[in-house]
């Protein structure tokens, strides 16, 4: 296992956000963290690369304790794509080059620039290399953020709600891209997500949070509708359409509440 989480708790001003969280993440798979609003999905993700520090518990990255690693060492192992990416007057090429930060001491060398060129080609983004970020659409910005994470050359990639602000076409584009990246580079991807249909279609593993702790986890194809019903507090069924799983609410939320 590339990442293991043991008994972590997280408190914010004495309010418990996460309690007794345990799981492990394998290479070459996409793990999706599911759960209702406010359950602590994003907090959990941010604990995994020390953006937030858990109150108790242990996290190990490739058997090394996360606690003992400084933020730069962590950035060499784990990359992170935030839910919202700020768009300034800086080119796509330079924004992606920022991903080389943990590997650069003073100034970017030719090798770093070449890697950026390579990733942009890999993701078909070369045509926009000199565009400024503020000129890009939400989907393009998200792709640039993923490119930056790739150029960081880490084995673990954290994605916080990667499709939350995207239209349907861009959602499938980004998630297909993530799928290919995992296959091509044997990465471990951990992402939070609200869209259950996308989660069931693109993820390999799931971790369901309820009441600030892990309520269920396992292979995505084994996820059951009664688990989702309990987690979201709304009766749902999982049906298949043209081979794809779809989560369908079978009762209005107002009635369920």
């Amino acid at each position: 296992m590339i990442l293991t989480v043991n008994q972590i708790d997280f408190k914010y001003k004495s309010v418990k956000i996460l309690e007794d969280i345990n799981f492990s993440i394998p290479r070459g798979e996409i793990t999706v963290i599911l759960g209702p609003n406010g359950v602590g999905k994003t907090t959990l993700l941010k604990c995994l690369n020390k953006i937030l520090t858990p109150s108790t518990g242990r996290i190990h990255v490739k058997d090394k304790p996360l606690k003992a690693m400084d933020i730069r060492q962590i950035a060499k192992e784990i990359s992170y794509v935030a839910q919202y990416n700020e768009a300034g007057k800086i080119t796509v090429f330079d924004a992606v080059l920022m991903g080389r930060y943990p590997h650069i001491r003073f100034t970017a060398g030719k090798e770093d620039l070449k890697k950026v060129g390579s990733v942009l080609t890999h993701l078909n983004l070369s045509h926009m290399a000199l565009k400024n970020l503020y000129e890009l659409s939400g989907g393009e910005l998200q792709q640039v953020a993923i490119a930056r994470a790739l150029v960081q050359e880490t084995d673990i990639l954290l994605l916080d709600e990667p499709t939350s602000s995207l239209d349907l076409k861009n959602q499938t584009r980004i998630l297909s891209l993530v799928r290919h990246i995992v296959q091509d580079h044997n990465l471990a991807v951990i992402m939070t997500m609200h869209d259950l249909n996308s989660a069931l279609r693109y993820a390999d593993q799931y971790i369901c949070l309820k009441n600030h702790t892990v309520f269920g986890a396992g292979k995505i194809e084994e996820i059951r509708s009664d688990l989702l019903t309990k987690v979201y507090g709304l009766p749902v069924e999982i049906i298949r359409h043209k081979g794809y799983p779809l989560v369908v609410p079978v009762e209005d939320a107002s009635k369920a509440a």
Partner: protein, 356 residues
């Protein structure tokens, strides 16, 4: 995961080259203005005489005195102050993610003015020197400078301390600065209310930014600190670029966001406090120069910071020259002209600039 077989797009190399040429053009413009500024004043000197004097081969005693004792210290302090104020403004705006961040917004200028006013009224450093037009003077500039500096750095430390407690959130720093600024303004008004005519005139005189105040001794003190801080900011330019992506993304690539924000604020505050306490309050450069540069050269701090340094120096050099020439033989306060020169350019760029 490795991406080792890429190529750097030619267009990107061209783009970087273009930005470097822009910096070179700004530097050349500054060098030209530097020489013109040495020639112009109550006594006009030919360029050849100025160059000869600079090469320690003055054609006359008069040229030697004018260049080395009067104009050069004023021009050197203009370059240092303009560069320092502009880059400090750029860094404050970047680390606080607030386009309004500047020594004014953060209350540092108000604190310096209060410190100067306090030295005038409590320590009696404001005097009536003669009955001529330039009658009012500061009798002990060292005390006034020291008091102004102490209060401005004290303000910066309070802002940094409070933000440290609250996790260095940008809005906390700016709001604290605004509150402190109001406090010091009220304090200055109180002192002015109880001041006599001479003290009141001395306080107002100090708040005019005036580059002629500084001499070589002052420059020897200011220059090394300003140069070290400029170097510090340039080294940190990649960190500021990372922080522009958002705090969490910056942490994700290994940037110690809180430390970069606090060290940037501390260095920028030290720089502005130092400059303001020696030359008085020079408005506009710290706020506008980085904005002018951002619209022309973009937000990439590898270019934004050196361009801000050069543009700040250029604005202050130009303002100083105009202040010396417009009402010969009188020299007007330079801070009037920094706004007169910069504001129209700034407004033009806001109207014409990119939609952001």
């Amino acid at each position: 995961m490795h991406f080792d077989h890429g190529a750097v797009p030619d267009a990107y190399i061209g783009y970087i080259r273009k930005k470097s040429w822009l910096l070179f053009a700004l530097f050349s413009l500054m060098a030209i203005l530097f020489l013109i500024s040495l020639c112009k004043g109550a006594v006009k000197l030919p360029l050849s005489a100025v160059v000869q004097t600079l090469m320690l081969d003055a054609p006359s005693r008069k040229a030697d005195l004018i260049v080395w004792n009067i104009r050069l210290p004023q021009i050197v302090i203009a370059i240092l102050s303009g560069a320092g104020l502009a880059v400090s403004g750029a860094v404050m705006q970047s680390v606080l993610k607030n386009p309004l961040a500047s020594p004014f917004t953060l209350g540092i200028s108000h604190a310096a003015a209060f410190g100067a006013a306090l030295s005038v009224i409590i320590m009696g450093t404001g005097v009536m020197a003669s009955s001529s037009g330039d009658a009012v003077a500061i009798s002990s500039p060292v005390i006034t400078v020291a008091t102004a500096f102490s209060f401005s750095i004290f303000t910066a430390l309070i802002i940094i301390f409070i933000s440290g407690k609250k996790g260095a959130a940008p809005q906390v720093m700016v709001l604290t600065g605004v509150a402190l600024g109001s406090l010091f303004t009220a304090g200055t008004m109180l002192l002015q209310f109880f001041a006599d005519d001479v003290q009141l005139a001395a306080m107002v005189f100090w708040t005019f930014g005036d580059l002629a105040r500084a001499d070589w001794n002052d420059i020897a003190l200011i220059a090394p600190i300003v140069l070290v801080l400029l170097g510090f900011f340039l080294v940190k330019s990649r960190d500021y670029n990372g922080m522009a992506m958002g705090d969490e993304s910056a942490k994700g690539i290994g940037i110690r966001v809180e430390w970069v924000r606090l060290s940037g604020m501390l260095a920028a505050s030290l720089m502005t406090a130092l400059i303001i306490s020696f030359v008085g309050i020079i408005s506009f450069v710290g706020l506008a120069a980085p904005h002018i540069v951002r619209r022309i050269i973009g937000d990439d701090h590898r270019f934004l910071l050196p361009a801000s340094i050069l543009t700040g120096a250029l604005i202050l050099l130009a303002a100083d020259m105009v202040a010396r020439l417009v009402m010969l033989p009188h020299v007007l306060p330079v801070s009037i002209f920094t706004a007169f020169l910069g504001a129209p350019v700034f407004i033009y760029l806001i109207i014409k600039g990119n939609p952001r």
